[in-house]
Each structure stands twice: as structure tokens, then as C-alpha cells.
Symmetry: C2
Subunit: 420 residues, 2 copies
């Protein structure tokens, strides 16, 4: 007799997925599975099986069936780097920058990270939760079911805790799974501008223990760059974070080749992010230490920085990159992983298969969730997308449109925009 299950997906031209629970490195990045004329069975929130339609329909009796209408089925996207807790947008600064204003001019005119800090400090927790929920709706619309979410626009103990509580509150009431990261070391707050050492002390002695005690973050991140947190300060903060049980993520080598990748490797970080200016030695170090490089190819384009992240060199060196939007109000105002994939193809020369693995499995692994999400395999959480594209390579080939028609998160249909 057929086994009763919750949901069967059929009618897809392709079911496409990376496989495994470990980050896929080097040539393995492109080694995806493509199932044609297959069905996908879901039960109890998890993926049960992918296989040829006819035997699947004999084996299972589904309470609900969804028709993919000749489209493509892929895993829910995982966005491994975002700053989604903010109160105000920065379209004025964007326009100033496109019109030629420099970073210094924008800062002097009240722009930059500190303008977001003013906004967050002035906003109530309820207001920030409401805004974050709107962002999460849009992530979900565009097929992103797991989102790394950083604090970092509070920069005081009180305001950083507020941001992390906002992430916890919004995550608890939304289908998008949030992975919280403490980024108190995003910038020096105005009140510590002339005593930077005291802010580092405050981070190490007060803020990190308070966040750890409340269990509000899985990861600790830092903006390691010459004009912000240098290598020594970064090491001190991150070593303390590691002692307190945080996983480590680092913004490194984004604007200058400071050697942040080497530091990430030395500390056994989960990820090293940005990396436009990483050295060959930095790439080697990341490879040897098994750190996932999280690449944000939209950011240099959005900031009009000509330097491109050496994505192909990383793959050749055997690294296992992830892709991310870096969604934030200053340097990248998009939440679309398909948009990231198109530009990763165009600028980093990633194939569509590489883009897909980097946007799902490898991103999940960088967040410690390789065993639960990031691929379509029996036992993994059923985070599944139906795209209205005839081939998975359209994820890169087409851009500027949301191809996601159906979003399933934890086995539940949470979006259905099919016309029929």
C-alpha cells in the first residue's frame, strides 16, 4: 500500500541540487545533480525522496500535490551575509555617490554606517521588528529561506542587544530561518571616536559576555580593515568571542590587502567575507584552514570599486566559496540571490552550477547548517523552490526578474505566485 505523505512536487523539467553536508570545494563546486522527469516527496517538514515520477507515485499517496509546470526545482537559497536590522534607507547617499561624492564627503554629510547607527538608536524594538519582518517577506518572495543576520548598527551594549533581540523576535514569527551574528565591531561609535582602545575593551569585557549570556548570537563578526579594527584588535576580540563559544566570521581584505584572510585562517573562522584584495597567501591559508570564503560580488559594483574578488583563483586553489547579497542600506540594497548569481557569473566567471552550490550548500555550511539545509536530499529540511524557468542556467542568464513562483519552507508552502 502507498505511504501517506504531506506533499509531492511533480512536473518539473529539472530538479537541481548540490549534495552532501560539507562545503563543496574546487572542481566539486560545479558537481551538481540534475534530475529530469523526477518527482520530489516531502513529509513531516523534510525531504523524503527524489526519483522518477512513476515509481514515486506508486510508492506515495500525497495529501497535496504541486505542479511545477515545466519549471525548475532547486533548494531554498541561503544568504550567508546580511545586515538586515536598520531603521532608515540611504538612497540620498547612493545618489551622492553615483554623482561622484567621495566616502569622506558622504560621511561629512551625515552618511555612512554612522547614519544607520543614528537611525537604529532612535528606533524602538517594535519598529525594528516590523521593518525586519518586511525584509524577511521579501527574502522569502525571492526564494531565500535561510538568512545570516548581523547586528552592527547599534554599537552600544543596549542597542546591540536590542538589534539581536529584534532578530530573535522576527525570526520566531517568520518562515525564514535566521542565523544571528553579533557585529558590535562594525565601526567605532561616535562616543568612542577618540578612545578606540576603550571601545575594544568594552567589546571584550562587557558586550561579548552579555551577548553570550543571553544566547542571542551564534557568530561574532568584525570589520577588519586598517581604518576600523586592525589585525591586533581583531585578534583580541575574536579570541575572546571564541572562548565564549561564538563561531567566527570576518569582513576582511575588502578595501585593502591587510591580511585579514590569514587571520581568519589562524583563528579557524567559519567564514572570511568580501576578500576583494586577498593575497595568494591569504587564499592558500583559507584553503588550508577550511574557511569558507563568502563572496559578495554586488558590493564592488554598487560602490564603484573596480577591484573584483578573485573568485576563479579561489576555486582553482580548492576553496569552497559561498555567495551572499550583503544586503544593507549602504553598500548593497538588494535581497536577491538570483541577482547575485548573474553577477557572480559575469564578474567572477562562475558557472551556473557553481553559483547554485555557492548560494545553497556552501552558504549553509558556512552557517553550520550543512546537515539540515542547502540541498535537496532525504532527511534535510524541505526548503524548496519552484522557478518558472526552463533550465537552471537561467538563474544566471536572466536577471532583474524574480523567477521564484513557489517557496516551500520546512515542508509548508509559504509562497505561491503561479498564474494558474
Amino acid at each position: 500500500m502507498a505511504q501517506a505523505i504531506d506533499l509531492m512536487l511533480r512536473g518539473a523539467r529539472q530538479i537541481v541540487t548540490a549534495t552532501g553536508s560539507q562545503p563543496r570545494a574546487g572542481a566539486g563546486l560545479a558537481a551538481i545533480e540534475i534530475h529530469e522527469n523526477a518527482a520530489l516527496a516531502i513529509d513531516d517538514g523534510c525531504i523524503l525522496e527524489i526519483g522518477p515520477v512513476a515509481p514515486m507515485e506508486k510508492r506515495y499517496q500525497a495529501r497535496h500535490t504541486l505542479d511545477a509546470e515545466g519549471g525548475v526545482i532547486v533548494p531554498g537559497f541561503v544568504d550567508a551575509h546580511t545586515h538586515p536590522v536598520f531603521a532608515t534607507t540611504r538612497e540620498v547617499e547612493f545618489e551622492q555617490r553615483t554623482q561622484g561624492a567621495t566616502y569622506t564627503e558622504i560621511s561629512q554629510a551625515g552618511g555612512g554606517i554612522l547614519s544607520s547607527v543614528r537611525g537604529v538608536r532612535g528606533a524602538s524594538k517594535e519598529e525594528l521588528v516590523a521593518r525586519l519582518l518586511l525584509h524577511l517577506d521579501r527574502f522569502l518572495d525571492m526564494g531565500t529561506t535561510t538568512v545570516e543576520a548581523k547586528s552592527g548598527y547599534g554599537l552600544s551594549l543596549e542597542d546591540e542587544l536590542k538589534c539581536l533581540e529584534v532578530i530573535a523576535l522576527a525570526g520566531a514569527q517568520h518562515p525564514v530561518e535566521l542565523v544571528p551574528t553579533f557585529l558590535g565591531a562594525h565601526e567605532f561609535p561616535p562616543e568612542f571616536r577618540d578612545r578606540r582602545g576603550a571601545y575594544v575593551d568594552h567589546l571584550v569585557q562587557d558586550m561579548l559576555p552579555a551577548v553570550a549570556e543571553r544566547g542571542l548570537a551564534e557568530y561574532c563578526d568584525i570589520f577588519t580593515e586598517a581604518h576600523v579594527f586592525g589585525l591586533d584588535d581583531s585578534r583580541r576580540i575574536l579570541e575572546r568571542a571564541r572562548e565564549l563559544g561564538f563561531g567566527l566570521r570576518l569582513h576582511v581584505d575588502q578595501l585593502t590587502p591587510l591580511g585579514g584572510a590569514e587571520l581568519a585562517a589562524e583563528l579557524g573562522a567559519a567564514s572570511a567575507d568580501h576578500l576583494e584584495f586577498v593575497s595568494d597567501h591569504g587564499i592558500e591559508s583559507l584553503g588550508a584552514a577550511g574557511v569558507v570564503p563568502v563572496l559578495c560580488p554586488l558590493v564592488p559594483l554598487y560602490l564603484r570599486v573596480e577591484q573584483e574578488v578573485p573568485g576563479r583563483r579561489m576555486v582553482s586553489a580548492g576553496l569552497a566559496p559561498a555567495l551572499a547579497t550583503d544586503f544593507n542600506p549602504g553598500s548593497c540594497y538588494t535581497q536577491s540571490m538570483p541577482e547575485v548569481m548573474t553577477w557572480a557569473a559575469l564578474r567572477l566567471r562562475f558557472s551556473a552550477a557553481e553559483c547554485l552550490t555557492a548560494s545553497t550548500l556552501n552558504a549553509a555550511c558556512s552557517l553550520g547548517r550543512g546537515a539540515s539545509v542547502g540541498s535537496l536530499e532525504p532527511g534535510k529540511r524541505a526548503n524548496v523552490l519552484i522557478l518558472d524557468q526552463p533550465d537552471y542556467r537561467h538563474l544566471c542568464y536572466e536577471f532583474g526578474r524574480n523567477p521564484v513562483r513557489v517557496v516551500i519552507a520546512g515542508g509548508k508552502v509559504v509562497r505561491d505566485a503561479r498564474r494558474s
Copy 2:
């Protein structure tokens, strides 16, 4: 007593529009109107008035009212350059190119324009109409209500007529207004590869008169480039087209500085398109002749050509540029004008106001429709969008998401994706 009207839009934070029926040039490109706390009245398919809410509500009794929910109202977008009639997509070639294949390698592997020609020749009129209607649905989803549509993948009398008939048939049954352009001089067809002069003769003697006789195209376009139609062939074809009553559009100076802009000016063309390699003299000539430069900033990015169109130089020289997607299966697979605007801001340094004018009024003017569409003014066709963004500058600032919630074409609500 209040006047009965069809539709009233209210609740917008901003109603933003260029004004007039002539292309806006130089500093005028940025001179938009921004109405706050205003309503927009529509009757009999046309815009009746924009004004402060209270008096408008006294003056008019609307049969239907739409709430813009704090968003922005702008004119329907006008896409002044597209190749939407094709049978097959070219995602394989896209991937080959991102992986480093050259144009020649792609052509030898069966890619390029001629692969689209094979597809169109092998497709029935019904199949092409069905595909075009799908594309038109997507244009409309993304707020484009007027689309210039070229033939050019037929390259035989029979197949070019088929493509133009497809445009007429699809246009007659869809809310998107299509402006048909004959592009028989897109490339040399395989059967004329070794006798190019004979194809030019065929265009002049047979194809152009046949298209004119059937009234199937308003414009004649040509790919003027050293390896395709040189200046002399271009002049001969376009002069014949002008005699037959066609307006003229030209693909010029896209890959090399051939002097196509000067030719467009000499012939009094409606538009000169692409222009990445235009000379200063070419820019001057376009300005003196009042030719609208139609800029497609996504194309060099999609083709990984480093040369950028000198958009700011054109504005400084007093030109009146339009923006366009160049939607086609080879060199730009997107239909999104907001995506074009973001990259025009980032790469051409256009302000959001300039992007909006170039994507509406100036594009309409380049298509001979400046009097009927392209702005929100009394008497113009009511092609109106409601965006879910709080400020019109978000059209450039945000990307990768469709901000269009409601589309009104000719006074009718043809899309409504508001959540509430």
C-alpha cells in the same frame, strides 16, 4: 456637483513625472515634478488631473479608487529598444561567454544572432505569438507599458514579414503598446554570406517595399558596424527606408567608433542606439540634429565589454538620452527598466530623476509618442504605475526586485499585486 470619473489614485507619498511632449535635454533631463500628498484622476483612458487630495475629492466622484499605500506613482515605463521576437534562449552561450569563450568561438559553436535566426525560421507564427505574449506579460509585470519591438531574427522576406506579423498579432491582444521596427539589416543571413551586396539589394528592392506596403513597421533599424553593415550600405538602406516613410533607428558605434552617430544625424534619425564608442564629434552631431541617443547600459556589462557609454558627456553636451533594456536572447536577457535605471545610475552616473525621464518621456519621444505617453499630464494616455517604494530614488537605489505593485494601461488596471 462632483464630476463622475473612472478612477482616482490616492495615498501616494509621491507622484513623480517628467513633463511635456518633447525630449528633455541637458540639465532639463533632471527637471522632474514631484507632487506630495496629491491624487491622480483618470477618465476615459486618459489622465485628467493631478492635484492636492482634498480639492480633487470634492471635484471628482470616482467609480473606483486605488490606494497607493504610501508608495510612489510614476508613468508607465517606455522601453525604446528590444528584440522580443525569438524562439529559443541562449543560456548555453551565456555560460560559454562567462567561462571565457570568444565571440568567434561562440559563433563557431552555433551561437550568436544566427542561432536565433535558425530558431525563428523553424518556428510557426503561432508559436512566436505565444512566446511574445509571455514576454509582454513580463514587461507589464515590471511596469513597462510601451515597448519598441524589432524584427531581425528572420533575415528573409518571408521570415521578417512573419516576425512583424507576430508583433502586430501579439500587440493587438495585449495591454502593452508595441512600436514595430523592421530590422532586416541585423546581420547577413547564411544564404547571402558570400554575396553581401545582393542582400543589400534585396533589402532595398524587395524587403523594405514589402514591409512598407503591408504597413507592418513604423521604423527601420540597422546594425551599422564594420563587420556587418558599413556606412555606405547603411546609408543606402536607410535612405530607401526614409523614402518609403519609415522613421529611422540605428545600432551605432557599439563595438567600434565607426561614425554611425554622424550618419544617424545626417539622416535625421529618430534614435541612435548603444553608442559606447561614439566620438565627441558624433555627440555634437546628434545634438545638432536632435537625434535621441538610446542607451542600453546593461549590454556592455552583460557582454563583459569594458567600454562604457559616455552618458554624462552626452547630457553635458545638451543631448536628450533615453534608456532601454535591449531585451534579446544574446546580449541582454532582462526586461526590467528598474534594473536598467540602477545600472545607469551606477555606470553612467545618471541621477534617479535623469533615469526616470530617460525611461519614460524621452523614450516615448524617440518612438514618436511624446504627445500620448511618457508622462503624467492631463490628456495623456493613463499609463500609470504604483511602486511599493517610499521615494522615487529607490528605483535606482534598490535592485533585483520588482517594485511595481499596480499597473494601469490606458486607464485600466491590468496588474494589481498589492498584498492587502
